[in-house]
Amino acid sequence: MQAADLSFHRIFLKTMFMGLKLGVSSRKMSYQERKRVIKLSANIAMAVAGNGMNWSRALIIRHAKHEKNKVLLRSLLGRKRYESITEPGFAPLNFTWQKMIMKRRFRRTNSILRRGAHASNGATARVIARSMAKKRTRTLKSLVPGGESLDDLSLLGETIDYVISLQTQVHLMRLLTEVLSVSNLRQTLPQGLQGTLGLSNSWLPTRILMSGSVDYMGGSPLS
């Protein structure tokens, strides 16, 4: 079990660092561009770490559609993997949008007719409940990558996995931001100040918040 956590975290961090390294050139990048690269790296890292799941492949494909990402993706995944993932052979993901729209319209009109016919039954509540559940299933399908072509049961399984990896992603990214923000702080403050702030020793959670104000104070003489 330890090895299992480890592998997910490790793969995630490894891929994320590689992506950041490849994507971010610290000289000329605008804030927006950097944010986009970071988000892309994080998502790809999560998808790579959650390998073998439907959503992971769908997430990669979703990102591979944009032209800007293709180079980074290719270098991150390795050419072979990139080719194998983005080949359009996977059947459930082959749904054309038109087909789905037609299906949806057909289903809706059908259910409306049926509901009208049976409206007088005592089972109206159940019908309404079922339509509520259906609506929500549809939004869930739009949220989970690759969920459009899944049936109910596997959709739930995918969301479980997706939620867990999202939690891990958030956790790791939060750690990363904390570490990097502190590293920035340490760099800019002279050693003496760092000592007085107690930065080199035990680390309390409150200091994360304090670092914001200290940053500000530290910034003014330098800027």
């Binding site: 956590d5 869930l140 990097l180 502190v182 959670p205």
Partner: protein, 383 residues
Amino acid sequence: MNCGTPSPDQLRPALGLSSFNWNQSMDSLSPIFPLPASGEISSFMGNPLNSMHVNRLMQFPADPGFAERAARYSCFSSANYGAFSGVSEAAGKPSRVSSGHCLKAKESRMQLEMGDGEFGSGKEDSSVTDPASVLGESSAKKRKAAAKRKLKVTVENDLIAKKSRSAESTEIEKDSGMPKEEQNVDEKKQGKDDGTKASEPFKDYIHVRARRGQATDSHSLAERVRREKISQRMKLLQDLVPGCNKITGKALMLDEIINYVQALQRQVEFLSMKLATVNPGLEFNLENLFAKESNEESPIPFTLANGIDTHCSIGQLDSILHQAALMQSSLDMFGSSASQVENLWDDELNTVLQSSFGQNQEIGAPSQSFHGQLSIPHMKIEL
């Protein structure tokens, strides 16, 4: 976290589904699930097992690391969502340990059901390598939430079941409807019948036992199995999404799930924004970790770290992270609180950041120039 009374229905899905790939797992576990699902869900309303589960609980205190990890995992999920004020990271140890114990109780109960109910006592955890390789791909955190012992049992059972079966579960259920009906004529009861079920997982199809007073045709049986699978997964999701213990009903639960997923995605967006402002110079990420780990482990690698250049190989990164996680887990074992562990992680990273930055002075300059601009957005974020 539903620590109070974990129901068996929650345990079993967490048990089975947490082993590996969902699709695989559902197929391979369906010999297990319908059997308890049909005969035992009703009977597990819980008394015969409660005493046994208490006994099992006694066996587990030797694994505080798991408790800490499980608790921390659950605490993280709740802390992230911000909806769960009761069990927060700042809460005292007893609450966390208790939540960990609750998870362990769940796992123990599941293990009990799995071990005794279906496959008899003959199955020992012989092969760890097989499950490990199978599990290599799937979600690590799911496995985090499952006890290792139980996991071995289930995965081994799954593997055995998978090897013995080839067809799809749904078709199999329909097929089994017919032979099942004959059996049901004789003994259509609600009872457990674990003994008779023990041999069946190795057959080609899934035996579903009809419950007393319910229809026995294959369609309704298959539907019932499908519905139970869905409810099991919903219960798993209930554990994942914080603050969903009280919510009954599929639609409301789906609502919560949707909100949670959207919140998590928003958090990722926010964190990436924060990362973008905080970090203009990303080159020293690898150095950080490498130096950190060497510092922690032994003095010799530390000297190596000082001499290393900025481009670490992936193998080195591997070992770093491996050591990092091991260290983190060992810290867990000593019962440190979740927040402290996280901060220790940062602390170690930072102590070594300091040393590594001593060597890379040129990186200091751009970050200094950025610093004035960085501080203000940083300030806003912190507030």
